[in-house]
Amino acid sequence: MTTVSASPTVHEVVPSAIIRLLKLLPWLLVAALPLALPGYEPLATQVFVMILFALSLDLLVGYAGIVTLGHAGLFGMGGYTAGIFSVHGITDPIATAVCAMILAAVTGLMFGAAMLRTKGLTLLMLTMASAFLLYEIANKATGLTGGEDGLQGVSFTPVLGLFAFDFRGKTAFFYSLAALFIVFIFVRALINSPFGWSLRGIRENDARMVAIGCPIMQRRIIVYVISSALAGLAGALQAQSTQFVALYSLSFELSGNILIMLILGGSGRLYGAFIGVPAFMFAQDLLAKQDPANWYLGQGIILIALVMLAPGGILGIAERVIDVIKRRRVRNGHRDS
């Protein structure tokens, strides 16, 4: 993003500017979606929120190598924070979203400091337990959360005082798309920073990271807190766009689903969340139409096939295909010369 070189030649500038524009193109296309497909805004908003949530999970699973089955705990924390604030009269969407991020981050810090001393299966179990804990608290504290009925009466004032949340969900659409874009830029910067590289190092060989003087516990906690804040933001966006907070937002089911979505797209690849979430939602919709009673079966089969045949997810398959094409080209190139 920053070019420091003294005086870049025209040759260098033009392509990079074009590439930058090309990279913006998908975002612009998506932003134009309400024109092409009016009526799909609420569904698209759902997809954006889940992509943001999956992106926060990718920081942990794909980059830091922290596999969690309790990420919904932080999503729900953000959702309930925004929801409860709104019910009690604090209804500015951005302010409540920030509060949701802070509370989720604090929750992440508390759990993370305790859990991240462990690794592997133990850690997996602890992440699950942490989310169950939050779920049960929300389930029992009916006065605050509405319990099983969910939190009703959630509403927010217009975004920036200008754009009211409308029926059709247009405001929610652009609001969550903007949030997703900002988070994407942030996450992309993070994984390309020295910190992001050190996370990859920890994932690849944590013992060696210690032996180059890296305080790995500290790094893992920092990324856990960042990821928690982003998950909390996703939860808040969900609450704001649907004007409702359900217990599902803290559930094990959601924790599992978001992990499946990420793995389906391909973890540790930044764009995995963007591929996996729509693919999962599309498959879910399709399977539910085929057999509303037993669609979990189809989901299970897809998951098994994925793990056995394509551990890198959809992007992993794409990478392999590109790899094969490249190798063929190299071979042909050798033959030609």
């Binding site: 942030f186 390309n192 020295p194 590289w197």
Partner: protein
Amino acid sequence: MDTATLETRGLNCSFGSNRVITDVDFTLRPGERRALIGPNGGGKTTFVNLLTGRLRPSSGNIMLNGEDVTELGEARRIRLGIGRTFQITSLFPKMTVRENVFLAVAECEGIAGKLLRSVSSHRQQFERVDELVHRVGLSDVAGVPAQLLPYGRQRLLEIAVALALRPKILLLDEPAAGIPTAESHVILDIIATLPKEIAVLLIDHDMDLVFRFAQQISVLVQGSILVEGAPKDIAADPRVREVYLGDSKHGRPAAA
């Protein structure tokens, strides 16, 4: 402060009832070129792990410049200047040669915690990375993932990663293991480029390498230092010949 003296006093380490290191008093002074030899299972790697803090001693102390570091963890000691390589190659397999070295440079220079500035804007650090990669002769494979390198070149990368930490004391645990004997001199060439005040402790089975490298040799047998001295004294010492050199097929070139 660019130099450091590493010292152990009455160091013991046992696993259950098995005493691996027994009452070792050992001093490594700035600028020393010391080798640690001894039969397999003699406790050499355990000793290195105690020095770097990977293992905790059962009793005894480890001093760095006269300060007790026994209670400090591995990462802290590394930051104080104790660098090491591993007997069994330990790298970041999917990351490239440059990325491997960058991780160490970034930790050493305290930029590894930076969250948002892109790595590519850290030009100074990358200059050091390239210099280190060049020094160990890996420039031609700088962009290749570590796991795709032949084992011998992985060993050289291991050394580059250790050097990236600007150690004051460098512990080389069998750096030449896996490198063809004819090429093991590369290791010595790299050590020769180090600043003179760095203390180097070399552990190896290649007696040819050890005797060319060391000014002083310590012999570790069954967890205790049997004898310390100049290479020619060690080669002539009957006890050493009996327990180690005499039994080893590597013994002949050393004695010659």
